[in-house]
């Protein structure tokens, strides 16, 4: 018959030592792994500045900067310069998150370029990276992370 065989008795006095040493090692490594040399106590610009995903920080910063410029109900697309479908996939998701009430259209989806017609009618264009040679419309804001544009109205023949 099955039985519990395990009513606890007080352990030997030194028994907490091993887990305590383990805890000390892991806590020390956690503290040592902090980004001390990157200005730990300096306020970060974005949530990703010192994380493993720091490469997406410029896109996050640009989308966050667009919040006051893009009205509710507008459509928006985020591209990169030069084009990078992986990064554009991430930034489309950032736009979904940081621009609630607007409609984010994907320039890329799941790491692949989306067909141009998906985002052709976006009213606002965010470009992470260098300023494009051909401006997509009226420049609203330029930051070190990229540019924010109000797209030019499209003529009937361009559809």
């Amino acid at each position: 018959m099955l039985k519990d065989d395990d009513r606890f008795q007080p352990s030997t006095p030194n028994s907490p030592l091993f887990p305590l040493i383990g805890a000390a090692l892991l806590a020390a490594l956690a503290l040592a792994g902090l980004p001390w040399k990157e200005g730990l106590f300096r306020r970060p610009r974005t949530l990703f500045d010192r994380s493993a995903a720091r490469a997406v920080a410029p896109g996050y910063a640009l989308v966050a900067a667009a919040v006051p410029l893009i009205p509710a109900g507008a459509t928006v697309v985020v591209r990169t310069e030069p084009r990078d479908p992986e990064a554009e996939t991430f930034y489309h998701r950032f736009a979904d998150a940081l621009l609630p009430g607007r409609r984010a259209l994907p320039a890329s989806f799941y790491g692949r370029f989306a067909p141009p017609e998906v985002s052709r009618d976006a009213q606002y264009v965010l470009i992470v990276g260098a300023r494009p040679i051909e401006p997509p419309g009226r420049l609203l804001l330029e930051t070190p992370d990229g540019t924010i544009w109000q797209a030019s109205p499209r003529g009937p023949d361009s559809r």
Partner: protein
Amino acid sequence: MSGLLWLGSLLLVGLAGIPLAFHPAFARFPFSTRIVLAAASGAALVSFVMTAAVLLAIPWSVPWLVAAAAALGAALRLLLRAPARVGVPPARESSGRLLLLSAGVLSAAAVAAALAATVAGAATSPDLLFFWGPKAQQFAFARSFDASFMRDELHHHMHAYYPPLVTNLGAFASMTAGRMSWTGATLTFPLLLGALAIGLPGMLSDGPGRARAAAIAALTISAIAYLGIEADIAGNGEMPLLLFETLAIALLLSDSASDGPTQLLAGIFLAGAASAKVEGLPFAISAAGLFFAARPSAARPFGPTAARLLFPMVAMLAAWFAFGATRRIFFGYSGYGRFLDLYPDHLRAVLSAVSRSLWTTGHTLPWLVPLVCVLLALPLSRRWILPVGIAAVLTAFFLFTYLHRAEDPSLWISWSASRIFSPVAMLLAVAASLGKPAAARP
């Protein structure tokens, strides 16, 4: 400031857990532990009430949700009878004060490291921005699950079928604070880790003694902190999952696990885990099942015990899947193929990628250090079956899942394995508390 308001509003869910956590059956726990139990059980109850409200077409409002969840907690309390031996707080040990103090300092240091990493933007999970946060934000706007938002093909990456607890609590905090706070969401990592650091020592101390319990708690907290910083879990579902799982396991390993109230509270935490992330379901099922093997005396009579451990989870997930099915959004959890369509030729690549992922997360030390502590504690009492058995089931489940993809799963594993294997580190740390006392050794 808005981040702190968002975060602070989560404390309201603790009100809903007070009727249960302050039942006389839990008088043996220190006040600090009961506060943590109230907060965690309240979070699970509020999430359930939010899901049920959507099914009943009742728009969410914060006071109503807290009141309804508290009423549910009070109703559950009426079902509970205090055990014959109402708990007495464990006697204070005169010796070991230095050990207790050291354990407390180490836990505090680990939580401080998690807080510093989060505030510095060094631990943020992209998943917060990809799906947890946007869904929570949209649901707060809609004061319900927004079915059209979930159906939108441009939101396919938000995994509509993912269980609702994390997004429910994010929506709850957003409604209370008036807006979503991304910073506040990341701070749930140190907040919940801190809650665990406060609550766990008191839950473990009825077994191995206060000093060893504090040391085991410090080991658990340090492992989660280090792993969480290395794997960037701030703002995603990992920390809520780990909170529920750890509390449930601590209750099921306790000397009072034969009591109905303890089993019901453990069942609510297992439900919380299953409602937090998909992998919480195999955890909860294996925990309930292995409890009967690890604690056969405590599990008798089997029927009522099974009901207390499983009914909360069945109710919470039934409400969620009823929503998905009635709105024709989802009918179950999605996978990468049919259930038994496996690619066994990928096994070598999967094992290699998992090893690489765990190695890049602190050189595997968050798992190895607790494992060494388990080995040093040998021989273990029979209760080891519970944490070690769950760890084995989870490992098998994750490998099974990774073998489902037709394409090379290495990239997928590289960004997911260290996070999803985090409960294994916690389980090993808790298992290290189960060494037999010297007098019982052959």
